[in-house]
């Protein structure tokens, strides 16, 4: 297996991080991937959340298996165009309710395999979804991407202080590991009541934007809560495609476009 080739053929690598769980990392990862795919780009999504792999369901490939080729593991393609490739531990589980009860060393070994042994082919973007925290998975991903020029990190938070508190720590992680921060997304930022159109700040407001200002990092946008987004994720439907006129879809598409513009400049410089 040629270790170099598998990641070398991937033009841009973006890691989705948050110190906090449940803020929408997988949601943002999948919708950015789908949005980039809609723009005609070839995209991969690598799910390194081994205990709680959400990506396959969100991309409607929940019951798929992976198989080996002579060059390594072949990722799962949700459609025949093969412009979206997916890898997750969920594909390796015998039963989807089986817990993955692994300590750090075993998780690290699996993540290293995911980084080196998946035959991504020529991808424009590889989006790497992570579990919450600053531990084994994150350290191993950073080490595994060394030498392959990752474009950087998108930090996802919800507006409230409890979430932002963890994301500050994630920023420290990025600084210590010298990962560039492409921007902050404030997810679940406001809910427009479908009955009366009143906007409620269910999880407070503005924390992500304030964090970006404080640390002088780009603010990518506020994504409001939209039950239709939740439903699409549940059903493996592309929200950015099915509900493209919704405010949440518009901002997610804009975030994807911004990331594409920023990272495309990286490509032309290197």
């Amino acid at each position: 297996m040629d270790l170099d080739n598998n990641l070398k053929s991937v033009k841009h690598k973006i890691v989705i991080l948050s110190g906090k769980g449940g803020v929408g990392k997988s949601t943002v990862a999948t919708q950015i991937a789908l949005s980039l795919k809609q723009q005609g780009l070839k995209v991969g999504v690598l799910d390194v959340d081994l205990c709680g792999p959400s990506i396959p369901r969100m991309l409607n490939v929940e019951d798929k298996d992976i198989h080996q080729s002579s060059q390594g593991w072949v990722p799962v393609y949700p459609d025949p165009s093969q412009t979206l490739a997916v890898m997750s531990i969920a594909f390796l589980l015998n039963k989807k309710d089986d817990p993955v009860v692994w300590r750090g060393p075993k998780k690290n070994a699996m993540i290293k395999q995911f980084l080196s042994d998946v035959v991504w082919g020529d991808l424009d973007y590889l989006i790497i979804d992570t579990p919450p925290g600053t531990s084994d998975e994150h350290i191993t991903v950073v080490e595994g991407l060394q030498g392959y020029n990752p474009d950087g990190v998108v930090l996802v938070t919800t507006p409230q202080a409890v979430a932002v508190g963890d994301v500050r720590r994630e920023l420290t992680f990025c600084r210590k590991t010298k990962l560039p921060v492409l921007g902050v997304v404030e997810n679940m930022s406001g809910f427009v009541c479908p009955h009366c159109a009143e906007c409620s700040n269910v999880f407070s407001k503005g924390g992500g934007e304030a964090l970006a200002r404080e640390f002088n990092i780009p603010f990518l946008g506020c994504v409001p809560l939209d039950p239709q987004l939740s439903e699409c994720l549940e059903n493996g439907q592309s929200f950015v495609e099915a509900f493209s006129s919704s405010p949440s879809a518009q901002i997610l598409n804009k975030i994807a476009e911004t990331l594409h513009q920023r990272t495309a400049m990286n490509g032309s410089i290197s």
Binding site: C51, W102, K106, P131, S135, V162, C196, V202
Partner: protein, 347 residues
């Protein structure tokens, strides 16, 4: 537990076996180095120390979820605050989420530090009868990150369990990070002699959460951790303007109640999404005190009221068994048998 990895050779002894990494079958296995270097040598003397330390804690409740962001820390703090409203009870919170310790902020204790006394580490007290311990108290600034791999996290968890002096405590509520990994395995392993009453499992209604929570329930079953029950959090949002209810996280597959029924575990109740709960968590104030009229308070009170009942039989059984095992040499076999039977039927 004797796990065999997917890529293990045919006669793999199992990763938890004494021969892991060392048997002839391990030669050439990609996991050999990991297995042979990760083994403790002999029984761990700290387990007995932990058992002794926690013998003064009557009930230990783990708050778990496979999924992040469902409200474990919120539920932990609310359960603890709710139990502590009874001045006769002594309550503790132990936060073993080392990378994302939310409990200090949620309990209004940000910036507090750990103090050592002659008898060990002292919890930080919110009220006279409510003490807290968290990795957050070990950080000197809110931006400090704990970037540790598993073994180091395990070491800190063991220290918490071994060295914190809870004194006489009725309820110790243990908040955990999401997942089924080092922290969860360590807590179960280190507390194996200290007896955990069980786990409260928190989820939100949607399938993307339930998927992970089913795994957590299976984890509990695998490590023989009793399940006190499942709580469905963020279950419906009442618009403060028009008072209509919306399902922000729609239960497309029946929600937590159906999941609990399918997996044959108790369902403890639903908690609505009230933005003021998040506000109290951000400000470190008690939701019970600030907004006593919220429907969420009623829901929490019902769940908290039921918890001691869910634990009571278990505790009675433990107490009875302890008593009988201590005095068994003094009784004849037939007397012992009839007294045990009476104890169960009156529990």
């Amino acid at each position: 537990m004797s796990e065999k990895p997917e890529n293990a050779p045919e006669h793999c002894p199992g990763t938890e076996s004494e021969d892991a990494g060392k048997s002839s079958a391990c030669q050439g296995c990609p996991n050999q180095n990991i297995c042979s270097s990760a083994k403790p040598k002999g029984p761990d003397p700290d387990l007995a120390v932990i058992q002794e330390r926690l013998s003064s804690v009557k009930h230990k409740i783990l708050v778990l979820s496979g999924k992040g962001g469902v409200g474990k820390s919120t539920v932990t703090s609310m359960l603890a605050r709710g139990l502590a409203l009874d001045d006769n009870l002594q309550v503790g919170i132990l936060d073993v989420d080392i990378c994302g310790p939310s409990i200090p902020r949620v309990m209004g204790l940000e910036g507090e530090q750990v103090h050592q006394s002659g008898s060990g580490w002292s919890p930080v007290y919110v009220e006279d009868n409510l003490g807290v311990m968290s990795a957050g108290f070990l950080l000197s600034s809110p931006d400090d990150a704990i970037i540790w791999r598993g073994p180091k996290k395990n070491g800190l968890i063991k220290q918490f369990l071994r060295d914190v002096d809870w004194e006489d405590t009725n309820y110790l509520v243990i908040d955990t990070p999401p997942g089924t990994s080092d922290e969860h395995l360590s807590v179960v392993q280190y507390l194996q002699h200290a007896v955990i009453d069980g786990a409260v499992i928190v989820t939100t209604p949607q399938e993307v959460s339930l998927m992970d929570v089913r795994k957590e329930i299976n984890f509990c079953k695998k490590v023989k951790l009793p399940i006190i029950g499942v709580i469905e959090n963020m279950s419906g949002f009442i618009c403060p303007s028009c008072k209509n209810e919306s399902q922000i996280f729609p239960p497309t597959t029946g929600g937590a109640e159906k999941m609990a029924e399918d997996m044959k575990v108790p369902f403890l109740g639903k908690l609505p999404l009230d933005p003021r709960i998040g506000k109290c968590c951000d400000e470190g104030t008690s939701f019970f005190e600030e907004f006593p009229d919220s429907p969420a308070v009623t829901s929490y009170q019902q769940i908290i009221k039921d918890i001691p009942d869910n634990l009571l039989f278990g505790n009675q059984t433990k107490d009875l068994l302890h008593m009988y095992l201590t005095f068994i040499p003094l009784f004849t076999k037939s007397f012992f048998t009839s007294t045990i039977f009476k104890g169960y039927s009156s529990g």
